[in-house]
Structure formats: C-alpha cells, structure tokens
C-alpha cells in the first residue's frame, strides 16, 4: 500500500539504462503481472475474511454465536451452522476456481520470452523478469509486455510501427520514432523498459475493477434491511408479550415453568426472549437466498456460454459470460453505448460503387433491368487474368471491366487517380506478393480496387510513384503532395507523367470539391451529385474525384511560392494553405467513389430491434464527425425522417452553451428557453417540467456532439442541459471522444438518469467505458483482448447483443424476479408461524417446527424447485422474445420485482402463515384422534404444520412455474418425496435408538399422517392458501393482460404453426440529399511520404529541392505524433510524452 502511494506521487523517474544494480535502489515494480488474489497458504484466511465481510454471512455468524448462549438459544446451533458451512464452502469453491484460472492466465503472460541485454550479452528472459532499465531487443511481430522507450530500430530514422490491437482494437499500424540521440545506435529494434508490471500504462489505465452490482442486488439489500427492521419489530412485540406474560400468567405458574438462575425478572426475561426470537425468526432473511441467487446467475451464465445462436463460427468464438453476477441486469438496460470501429463496423472498407463520368458502376441489375441487392448468386467479376489482383476483392458489375477494356479514357484516368493519389506504402511479402501498408483503410480499399482493375500501384520513392497500368509499368514524378487535413477535407498529388504532362489529382469531400470545379462541369456535377446522394443513402462513404491539367510554367511559379512559404516562419501554415487553395481549382470532375465501411452482420436489424425495445443507443467513437454520422445513417440510427439533428461542435464553453441552448429551444419550442444566468434558479422548475416535457416532445431527434464540445460540456453547468437534451433524442452520436470521455458520458447517464447502462466495444479505448457502465460487453474473436478482459460479457458480433438482451437478459430478469418473489414469500410463510404460535406458548420462543425441519427446509426441502424455476423458466420462447421487443419493457420499468411487489409477496406470505397456523390450531383445539388418543400434542402439531407448509409452498411453486421441464417435475415431486422420506427416517425407531435426544419425534409421522383428519387439515390449508392466488392471477390475466400473457396464449394456440408474418425491420432507406463524405485519413502522412522517412534505405536518398524544403521546414515527427495518437494519446497523456 505504501509503495503504491509513493508511486502516485512520483514526479520523475531516474533510470540508468542497463544498470540493474542502480535501478534496484528505487524499488520499481517488477514486470510480473498479478491478477490472482490467493495462493495455497493465504486462501483459507483471506477467503474467509472476505466472506465474513459480507453482511449476510456476518449476520449468520452472529446468529450462530447467539445460539451458543444457552440462555437464549431457542434453536440448536446446527440449524444455522449447517447452512452457513454449506454456503461458505460453495462460495469458497467458486472463488478458488476463479483464482486458479487467474493464476493460469498470469503465468501465460508472465512467461512470454523476451531478449534482454544482460552482462553485455543478449539473453532470453521471461517478461516477468524484465526490470526497469533493461535494454530489450525486439524483433518483428513480437509481443510487448511492458511500456518501452524506443531507442533505435532497423527501420530508417529510428521508426517503428506498432500494432495496438490489444490496446485499442485498431489493427492499423501506428508509427513511433526513436529519440534522435539514440536512433543512430543499433540495427535491430531495441528498447528500454520503462514502466513495468503494475506500472504500465495499461495496468494503470485499467483502474481497479469495480465490483459491479445489479439493481436487483441493491434492491435486495434494501429489502433485507427492511426485513431486519421487521424482524426487530416482531422481536420487540414478542419480547413485550413475554414480559407481560411472565408477569401476569407465568408468575402463577412458577411451580411448572420455573425461573432459571439469575433470570427472575420479567423484563429481563423479555430481553432474553427478544434474542431468542431473533434466532428463531432469522429465517425470514434466508441464508440460502444469496447462494441461490448466485447459483441461478451461474446457470444463466452457462446458458449464455452455451448458446449456439451467439456462437460465431467463422472465428470459432462462443459468447461468454465473464461475470456471473450481472445477468438479470441485462433485462433492464435503458441505454446502450456502443463503440463504432470493430463493434458496429468490421473495420473493413470495401470498394462498392463508383460513378465515372456520370455513369454508375457497381449496381447489379436483374434481367428486368431493376436494381437488385447484391446476392451471393451473382457472379463476381473475374480478376484471374490479373495475376496481381487481390483475391479478397469482389465486384459484381461487369460493365466497369468492359469499360476498361474498351479503353474509356475517363475510366482510365479515374483508376489512375486512385492508384496515384494516396498515402499507401507498398511492400513485397515473402511470397513475392504485393502487400499494401495502409494508414487509412478507405485508401486501402480504393487502391486495392484500382489494383484489381489493372492500375496497380507498385512502389513509391519520395519523388516518384510507379504504377502498372494495364500491364505496362509507368513511373510518375511526384511533384507535390498536398496533404489531407480536416479543414481541407481533400488531398491532392501533383505528378508529371512520362509524357511530361503535369497533372493534379484530387480526391475529397464532395461538398468541398464541387466548389472547386471548373464551370464546364455543371452537367456532370448534377449527375454525379445525384449518384453521390444515392451512395450516401445507402450509407456508403463517398469521395469525389477530380483532376486538373497544369501547365509547366504555372506549376513552377506556384512551386516557387510554396517553397518560399515553407521557409518562412510566421504564418507558414496559412500561407501554405492559401497556396493549396490556389492550385486546387478549376478541377475537372471525374466521378465519385463509394466505399462501404462494412457494418458487422445484422447491425441494422439489431439496432432497429433494440430501439423497438425502447433501448436508446448512443454511439461513442473516436472517429471524425462525418464518419460517425455516416455510420449512424448506415445502421439506421439516423434517418431522414428525423425531425432534426443537432450538431454540437463548439470549441469554447460559450459556443457549446449557445448550441445546446439553441437545440433545446428547437426541441421544446420558444416557451422553454433558459438564459445562462438563471440556470440554477430554474433548475427546480425544469425538473418539475421534465415529466411533462418528455411527453410533449414529438418526433425523433438526433444529437451529434464532438469530443471538444463534450469536454466543455462535461466540465461546466451545461452538463445537465446537455443530458436532458441528449435523453430527449432518439439517437446520440459522440465523435472524436477519448476513452476517458467515453467513460464520462457513461457515468453521466448512469448517475443522473438512474438508468441501467450497457457499454459495448472491442478495443482498449473502450475499456474505461466498459468498466464504468453497469454492464460492459466486449467484442471477442479479434486480436485485441483488453476490452474482452475488462468486460462482463463477450461475444464476437454486435448482432448477438440483441439475443443477449432480449432473450437472455429478459429471461434472467424474469426468472430472478419470480425467484425472489417466491423466495421471500416462502420464508415469510415459513417463519411467521412462529410469531402466531408465540401468542399461545407464553411468548417463550418455542419453535413450531422440529429443529431438523428448520435446518433442512430452505436448503433441502424447497431449494431445488425454486432453483429450477429460477434457471429454466420461460414465459415466452426465445423467438417470440426477439420478435416482440416490447416484451423487454417490464424490465426497464422495473415492474417484475420492486418494493411494491415485495410487499405483496410479504402479505401473501403472512396470509399463508396465518392459514398454516390457525387452521390446525382450530382443528386441534381439544381434538382427539380417530383412535380416540389425543393428537393435539406439540410434536404432531409441528409435523402437521411442517407437512402443510411443504405442500403449500410446493403448490405455490407449481403455480409459479410456467415452463415445466423434466427437471422441474423431478425437483418438485422429488422435493416432496424427499421431505416425506426424511420425515419418516427421522421419526423412525432406528435413528431414535442411536440418538434419542436428537430425534425425539419418534413415531410421530407414522401416527399423525395415518389420521384422516390430519390430511383433511393439510388439504384445507393448501386450498385456502392457493385459492386466492389462482383467483387473483386469473382475474389479472382476464382484466389486465400483459403482452407476455397475450403472447403466451397465442403461443399456446399456435404451438405448431410458425408465425405467419414476422416483422422484418427494413434494412434500407430511401435516399436523400446529403453528403456521405467520410474518410479515415489522418494528417501528416503526406509529409512522411515526401520526406521518404518511412521508406527503406535501399530507396534512393532524398535529393530534390522540394523534398529538402519539406524535410527542413518542420519537425514533422512531432506533428505526426500529435496527430496519430488519436486514440492512444489519452492513455499516455502525461508520462510517455514527458519521457
């Protein structure tokens, strides 16, 4: 503890490279990852300590101690001891298994091999033995299990590419650059270990795993407190009764009911009685409750693991419930926060369509000339003639290939542009095949498309680009590279072809590019823009493509000006930007491309269905606004039918405030404006109006907010307004948000809306969000593991969320609620009989039942049927749960188990206990048996009430069970059979002969249960207890049927016939006029390319003046770092940058 505190305060680290002795002085942590909690020796004490920290266990331990005091012990100690030991053992076994798996996973990570420089030699060392300050040699494609400082690499200029899939789930490569001082040193990648083990960025960011609890858990705890209160009340009533009785009646009865030593005072007797009754009545807080809840949840978790409909066969990944304590919360989700990349989308871009010179390619027409969806039956274009084609690429429109063969110059120019204007790097892999290193997957898709259509990008140097045009190698001179940025939303290259013509090729957002076109393009522009709308309507990411012929002289002048601009120091960026603007005009439109950011399968359906289930889906993404909106449209979260879409993108607090204000004005109309100065003043009023407002807002709204604005909004008083606004909207998209902000948004909703939240993501950038949400879901089956490791549930495809929530979640919630209702009912019915009996036994804390019965009732006689119900019950089947998402609503509204329900269960239990006690009481009052012998003795009375109780609660569970599997039958009938067999065994002569004092009920069952009148009593008690329940249920279903009731009836009626018309959500929308522009490009790569920094040394060294200018002009690496650390930076915020 002390150690970790010190580390928090640590301002700087002094590390001597390769000097273990020196570094040891600082006691830096070692690189061993410990997530396990126990070892063999510490298991028992630590685990027991932990277990008794739970209130319930501590309570039962306290009871056990009470029972050991002879003065108040109204029950023998084993009535508490046996269940307590059982409960503790079960939990301990579970904890031990969990920890065993943690040990295994730790070992796996810790034992990975690394090469460390020790004593001047490279030695193999396990990662766990790596120390701070060690110099490590890494080779290509090795795992990195510590935070490292890059010293040098075999790549030129000390560059190295790292994949951060395990951190953020993004598979593209990030560039890191060694310090210039060290970069000259070595050939291979070598690195200095900087932070180890628990100090790594990852471990530090992962934070403490918070113990998540479900709302049912919290409710349960509240109710248990209520029950404690109730118990104390009962105890006090009975204690007062005892004092009065001892004073009034008992005093005259001393000859028989003697005083014990030191107990000769009725008030003191009342005090002792209080504790005695606390012991007897403790079963209202059933010890088996918590264990049973755990068992049920475990069962549900296994069902999730076993579900084949959530098994992704392509990656052989089944769904997994990694936390086994949250299942029923899955049935109560109000908000889903989803990551975009890798979650909604596959992070695969495919070239889908293009419009070249006013003609659309990529649509598939059927025989009648109607546009059809691409189906598997269609024959894809055969690229086999092109030996370098990418096999994975598929295109279904043969006309494009024909156009290429016909030599359409525009088509050729179009594809040439795709092959030239990009930042892709090419490589040959070991098999001699061309491999592209792409920084932006969009570009990868475009270049790959061009490659397959015969315009193959082969290689580049800082000043040339070589492509193969339909079989002929052509080398273009790269004259200028006009890089992409967010304001320009376009990139251009200026190249000189072998014929000597200078051309500017430009691709970018249609909105921007269309303004730069030459006026002669007007017709084509209209046509292309129609096409673009169509593409956008399908949720494709579009880029407009244009070129410009430049004459030599003009270009030289311009280039001179650019060089000048680059050398100046002040306003350099502005001047360069101005020059870019200057040359990128009078463009000739070629067409447009449409790239599909491939959604995961079934995302649209899932989103639609979840919306129908009244679950709000918020997309939180690190992507750009355009990309995010684009995806919003692609998965039907944003539609054109929406009344309005608010975009909040202000850069200052004031701007954001204004934007929020405007949006709210728009939303609520003019009557509900608010001014900044009066926010606090009006807050109360707003709260009051909230409920009204929620009904008055009609129409669907969407909110898009970016990370900057969010940062301002979250830190100021706008927070609540923003939240209010966001919650009114059907869809919320947060773009460019950091992992921390993702978590903040989740926390905001979680804390202020009192809603149950679920976060789903696939990368390490989602970890914080996954951890802060009530439920975190990780997309598994990809390379990154962090999200999955932090998650509570994991599966391979976003679409499984639907099944997880609507089927498993709903069932879990439904079952858990039924279970709790029944459990509380059962224990009230069981325990309160003692209370009624108290009035007739002088409040002497005499139990009604045999102590063995009390011991076994909850854990043997009645546990299995209710467990079976809690695990297997279904009201409607899975298909209908999916088909009728409205069935999900009771969970969100918390209808099936709440305080009101609990009070009903309690009343029901009290009623049953009354029937259980007073019917035998009335019957046995002065009653003789049918053989004339007395039967109104205490033991017979106990047996009759116990038998009635077992039968009554079994009838009740039978009424509650709506899905009788074989297991339910076995458990219910088996429990009754078990009861009778144990009863007869314990009342048998044999066992009495061995333990006469423990089993004094000998012969009782035989004697009592052969009497007709006793069975009549049991029958009457059962019917009297069950009849009102049946009547109430019947009337409720008849008068106020729920959707579930209706579907059940319908399901029963149609058991054999399949549903006639399943509502299939519409997958496509009509097109609309808007820009579908989105691009995953990041600024900075242009400079990297033209400088040649990222190219192999074998490439000719940079020589041209142009290149030099760029190289000298700016510390581009800094730029690059700044810009490429989009997602990672938040992880490294302080320490890495400083170092």
């Amino acid at each position: 503890m002390f150690c970790s505190k010190k580390k928090l305060l640590e301002a700087e680290r002094i590390v001597k490279a390769n000097d273990r002795e020196y570094n040891e002085k600082f006691q830096y942590a070692d690189n061993c990852i410990h997530t396990s909690k126990y070892n063999l020796l510490t298991f028992l004490p630590i685990n027991l300590f932990e277990q008794f920290q739970r209130v319930a266990n501590a309570y039962f331990l306290f009871l056990l101690i009470l029972q050991l005091i002879p003065e108040i012990s109204s029950l023998t100690w084993f009535t508490t001891f046996v269940p307590l030991v059982l409960v503790i053992t079960m939990t301990a076994v579970k904890d031990a298994t969990d920890d065993y798996f943690r040990h295994k996973s730790d070992d796996q990570v810790n034992n990975r091999q690394s090469e460390v420089l020790i004593d001047g030699k490279l030695q193999n060392e396990k990662w766990m033995n790596v120390k701070v300050g060690d110099i490590i040699k890494l080779e290509n494609n090795q795992f990195v299990a510590a935070d490292l400082l890059l010293l040098s690499s075999s790549e030129p200029h000390g560059l190295c590419y790292i994949e951060t899939a395990e951190l953020d789930g993004e598979t593209n490569l990030k560039v890191r650059h060694a310090l210039s001082v060290t970069s000259e040193l070595g050939a291979d990648i070598s690195r200095l270990a900087k932070f180890d083990g628990p100090d790594t960025k990852l471990m530090q960011n992962s934070g403490k795993t918070k113990f998540k609890r479900t709302s049912i858990d919290r409710l349960m705890n509240t109710l248990v407190l209520w029950i404690f209160g109730f118990l104390v009340c009962l105890g006090i009533i009975l204690a007062i009764g005892n004092s009065i009785w001892e004073n009034q009646v008992g005093d005259k009865f001393r000859a028989f009911v003697f005083w014990k030593e030191g107990e000769k005072n009725s008030v003191f007797s009342g005090f002792l009685t209080f504790w005695s009754y606390i012991i007897i009545l403790n079963t209202v807080v059933p010890i088996s409750l918590y264990v049973s809840v755990e068992v049920i949840r475990l069962g549900h978790s296994y069902f999730i693991n076993w579900d084949r409909k959530m098994y992704y066969s392509l990656k052989a990944t089944p769904a997994e419930a990694r936390t086994t304590t949250l299942n029923e919360e899955l049935g109560q989700i109000n908000y889903v926060f989803s990551d975009k990349t890798g979650t909604l989308t596959q992070n695969i871009m495919t070239f889908k369509r293009c419009s070249i010179n006013g003609r659309i390619y990529g649509e598939v027409h059927d025989d009648l000339g109607q546009k059809t969806d691409i189906t598997k039956k269609k024959e894809p274009v055969d690229f086999s003639v092109n030996p370098q084609a990418d096999r994975t690429f598929e295109f279904f429109d043969h006309r494009l290939m024909e156009s290429i063969k016909l030599g359409d110059p525009k088509v050729h120019e179009f594809l040439r542009l795709l092959a030239l204007c990009h930042t892709v790097m090419s490589e040959e892999n070991s098999a001699g095949q061309l491999v592209y290193q792409v920084q932006s997957p969009d570009e990868g898709a475009l270049v790959t498309a061009a490659r397959n259509f015969g315009f193959i990008f082969k290689s580049r140097t800082p000043e040339t680009i070589t492509i193969e045009e339909l079989g002929t190698l052509v080398t273009y001179q790269l004259l200028a590279f006009l890089d992409f940025n967010n304001i320009r939303k376009r990139m251009s290259v200026i190249v000189r072809n072998p014929e000597g013509q200078i051309k500017l090729y430009c691709k970018g957002a249609d909105t921007i590019l269309f303004e730069k076109l030459h006026p002669s393009n007007e017709n084509l522009l209209t046509l292309t823009s129609d096409h673009l709308s169509e593409f956008a309507g399908e949720g494709l990411r579009t880029l407009a493509i244009a070129y410009r012929d430049l004459d030599d002289k003009y270009f030289k002048e311009w280039h001179k000006m650019l060089e000048d601009a680059n050398t100046t120091t002040d306003e350099r960026d502005e001047r360069v930007a101005g020059l870019y603007e200057e040359i990128e005009r009078d463009l000739m439109l070629l067409g447009a491309t449409a790239v599909e950011d491939k959604l995961q399968e079934g995302v649209i359906e899932t989103v639609t269905n979840l919306s129908l289930a009244n679950i709000k889906i918020w997309v939180l993404t690190g992507d750009k606004q355009e990309t995010a909106i684009n995806i919003g449209y692609a998965c039907n979260m944003l539609t054109d039918d929406m009344s309005d879409m608010f975009i909040i993108a202000g850069n200052t607090v004031a701007e954001v405030r204004e934007e929020v204000r405007k949006a709210k004005e728009n939303l609520f109309g003019q009557n509900r404006t608010f001014s900044n100065g009066h926010v606090v003043f009006e807050k109360k009023e707003q709260l009051e109006m909230n409920s009204v407002v929620q009904e008055t807002v009609t129409g669907d709204y969407a909110l898009v907010i970016n990370g900057h604005s969010l940062a301002h909004a979250l830190e100021s008083d706008i927070k609540n307004d923003l939240l209010e606004l966001a919650c009114m909207c059907k869809t919320v998209v947060c773009c460019r948000v950091t992992p921390l902000q993702k978590a903040q948004v989740v926390e905001l909703v979680k804390n202020h809306r009192n809603a149950v939240t679920l976060a789903i993501g696939d990368g390490a950038n989602d970890v914080s969000m996954i951890k802060s949400a009530h439920i975190g879901v990780g997309i598994s089956g990809q390379e990154g593991l962090q999200a999955v490791l932090a998650s509570d549930y994991s599966f391979a495809q976003f679409r499984y969320l639907q099944r997880l929530l609507l089927v498993h979640g709903r069932w879990s919630y439904f079952r858990m609620c039924k279970f709790l209702c029944y459990f509380f009912y059962k224990n009230f019915a069981f325990t309160l009989v003692h209370f009624w009996f108290g009035f007739f036994c002088g409040f002497s804390a005499q139990t009604v039942y045999d102590q063995w019965f009390i011991t076994l009732f909850n854990i043997v006689y009645t546990s299995l049927p209710v467990l079976a119900m809690g695990i297997f019950d279904q009201d409607v089947n899975d298909q209908n749960s999916m088909d009728y998402p409205q069935l999900y609503e009771p969970g969100q509204l918390n209808l099936l188990f709440n305080k009101r329900r609990f009070l009903i269960c309690m009343a029901h239990g009290i009623y049953t206990s009354l029937a259980l006690f007073f019917i035998p009481f009335g019957t046995f009052y002065n009653m003789a048996g049918e053989d004339g012998q007395h039967i109104a003795d205490y033991q017979s009375f106990a047996v009759i009430i116990a038998t009635s109780l077992v039968i009554v609660v079994s009838v009740q569970i039978a009424l509650d069970t709506s899905y009788w599997t074989v297991i339910n039958h076995v458990f219910i009938w088996g429990s009754i059979a078990t009861y009778f067999s144990i009863l007869f065994t314990m009342h048998s002569n044999g066992i009495f002969g061995i333990f006469p004092n423990q089993f004094p009920f000998v012969g009782n069952a035989r004697h009592s249960l052969t009497q007709k009148c006793i069975w009549l009593v049991i029958l009457l008690t059962t019917v009297a207890s069950a009849m009102p329940v049946v009547a109430f249920r019947f009337l409720r279903v008849a008068l106020f049927p729920t959707l579930s009731d209706q579907i059940r009836q319908w399901q029963k009626a149609q058991k054999k016939a399949r549903p006639l018309h399943r509502r299939r959500p519409q997958t496509r929308r009509s097109s609309s006029r808007r820009s579908g522009y989105a691009f995953a490009h990041q600024e900075g790569y242009g400079e990297l390319i033209t400088s040649g920094k990222n190219m192999r040394a074998k490439n000719p060294p940079p020589a041209s003046g142009l290149e030099k200018t760029l190289y000298n002009s700016t510390s581009w690496i800094e730029n690059l770092c700044k810009k490429t650390t989009d997602t990672v930076s938040s992880f490294s915020q302080d320490k890495t940058v400083k170092l």
């Binding site: 990944t317 005499q846 019917i919 003789a928 006469p996 004697h1007």
Partner: protein, 353 residues
C-alpha cells in the same frame, strides 16, 4: 470464470435441448377452461366434505364436568379449598354424579382436560431427557442439563425421571361407578387404562432401564423421584408392565400438548357390559383430587366422549370446509362474470377489427 475457457478451447457449444434451453416443457396456462371448473368442483367438494364433517362432529356425544372446585361448583371445592397453598396438597376425594337418560353410544373415552396449562412453554417443554426415558443407564445417572432445576435432588442424587414435565405429572385419578337401578348399589365400570399411550411411545420411546436382579426398584437405586412426586417412578403402578418409565399415564403426560388447553386420554370404556357404551342410569365418578390448578387460574375437566370416523368432537374443521368451499364457489362466480364480460369485449374488439 475469469479466463475464458472458451476463448482458448473455441469449441462450438453442444446442440442439445438442455444447453439451448429448448427442453420440451409443459407450459400450463391458467385458462378459464381449467380455472372455472376447478373452482366450482373444489367448492362443491369442500361443501360436501364440510357438511359431512360438521354432522359427524355434531353426532358425537360429549359429557363434560369441571371439577376444578372453584367455590360453589360442587363437592370438589372442598378438596380445592383444602389443597390451597399446601404442597404437596393432602389427598382428598370428591365425586361427580350424573345420570344418562339413554345409552351413551360407545366406544366411550374418558379424557381429562386442563386449561391455561402451558405445556408448550419452551422452558417447560425442553425440560426432559429423552435418553434417560429411553432407558439408557448412563443417562439415568447423569440427566441432561436441560432438566435443571429438576436434574439433581437436594441430596445430589440424579432425579429420575428428570425435568419439569415429569415433575408436574398429572396425578388425579378417577374411577367410574354405575348405579343400574335407582337406589341400587354402585358397580364399578371397568376402565381400560392400557393402550392409552401411542404405540411407539410405549414400545420405543419410553423404556425402563435394564432390571437389576430382576428388580426395577434396584435399577432405579441411587436416583431420586421428582420433588413433587409422593412415590418413586417404579411404584407408579403395581402392574410390572405399566410402571417405571413405561407407565401409560406418565407416557401420555410426557407427550406435551401443543396448546395451553389440552385433553389427554385417561381410559377407554370397552369391557364387560360396557362394550356398546354406557347404558342409561346414574353414574358416579370418584375423583382423587391431588393436582392443584387454581393457583394459575387453570381448570380441570372430565370428559366422556365418543369418536367418529374423523376423531373427536370439533366443529371447526367442518365449518372451515364449508367456508372455504363457499368462498371457492363465490370466487368462481366472480371469475365467471369477469370472464364472460372479457370474452364479450374481445369479441367486440375482433368485430371492430
């Protein structure tokens, strides 16, 4: 469950009905077709049963006499007066005279009833040692602690039988005399005092300690009788099968009652001329009045009762059945009305559609 077995194993889950939650199941619905007939049938059946129970309970004859001896309630008040405040109270006799105008249909059972006697009080109820009573010699010498303060006598000897229950053994005794002709002599009616205890109690639960030299008295040597007892346990009866711990009165008493008012069987009348019941005539019950109950406002009663197929007289069960049966039918009607109206509504809705 922290480290996914699945992520490594990567096995497709089994396609069984169990894992896929598709187990064939009976899914009962509470439809009108089931609920309504159930309520009406149950109601009718219960009313039938209730009537049967009620009439058979009413058919039982009971003759009851309170012989507590509160002042002015008969000749037992003398005994009650005499025993006031004296422990042990002196042996005193009193009698109850009654006459039967017609045959008291047999078999006739004689019960005594105590009221306001809390045999179900925990302190009282636990004050016994079942091991001792089952004849274990070790327990005979070392009674269980629960018996305290009736565990050891003042002299330090173990009490046998120990405990408050045994100590408070009911020790009134009764004999029944029949005067066949007016002014004729009273003839003693034979009372069958055997078989009043449960078979298991008499044969299993209560056993005398092993005899020493064939003598029960020697077996109990070194023990003390409970303080309230005038004589030791092996002298409870002269019948060797009915003495010691297996004395039937004792066994009956040791089966403690559930409620503060209770009856215990004293004898059956089924021998000689009385197999058919008690013939008409005058009767006298001679009561040996020992047991003090007035101190705690208790009552002692004597009851002659016959028995029906369902046991002794108690109208409660019959009435309860009638009430529950009627409620079932009433609820059934309410449900029927609701169901019909609801059906109508549904039909209308469908017509509208």
């Amino acid at each position: 469950m922290t480290w996914s077995a699945a992520a490594r194993g990567a096995h497709q889950p089994d396609n069984t009905a169990f894992t896929q939650q598709r187990l064939p199941a009976w899914q009962p619905l509470l439809s009108a077709g089931i609920a309504l007939p159930l309520f009406f049938c149950a109601g009718l059946a219960f009313i039938g049963l209730g009537l049967g129970l009620y009439y058979s309970s009413n058919g039982i004859t009971e003759l009851e006499y309170d012989y507590t001896g509160n002042p002015g309630t008969g000749n037992c008040s003398v005994c009650a007066e005499a025993g006031q405040g004296r422990a042990p109270p002196p042996t005193c006799s009193c009698a109850w005279y009654f006459s039967l105008p017609e045959l008291f249909q047999g078999p006739v059972y004689l019960y005594y009833e105590l009221t306001n006697f809390y045999q179900n009080n925990r302190r009282y109820g636990v004050s016994r040692d079942d091991e001792q009573l089952s004849g274990l010699p070790s327990a005979l010498r070392q009674p269980a602690n629960e018996c305290a303060p009736y565990q050891f006598s003042a002299a330090g000897l173990p009490i046998a039988p120990c405990g408050a229950i045994a100590n408070s053994l009911f020790n009134d005794s009764f004999s029944l005399w029949h005067q066949r002709q007016p002014d004729g002599p009273y003839v003693e009616v034979p009372l069958d005092r055997t078989g009043i205890a449960w078979w298991t109690d008499y044969h299993v639960k209560f056993r005398n300690p092993p005899l020493v030299n064939g003598s029960l008295a020697l077996a109990f040597q070194g023990t003390a009788p409970p303080p309230n007892w005038p004589r030791p346990v092996y002298e409870l009866s002269s019948d060797p099968n009915n003495t010691g711990f297996t004395n039937q009165d004792f066994v009956v008493w040791m089966r403690t009652a559930a409620l503060p008012t209770f009856r215990k069987l004293y004898a059956r009348i089924r021998q000689g001329n009385y197999t058919a019941g008690l013939p008409r005539g005058a009767y006298r019950v001679s009561i040996t009045y020992n047991y003090p109950v007035r101190s705690f406002d208790g009552h002692k009663r004597l009851i002659f009762s016959s028995i029906s197929w369902m046991g002794g007289k108690n109208p409660f069960l019959g009435i309860a059945y009638l009430v529950v049966g009627s409620l079932c039918i009433l609820t059934g009607f309410v449900m029927l009305v609701v169901y019909i109206r609801y059906q109508d509504q549904n039909d209308e809705d469908e017509d509208e559609q």
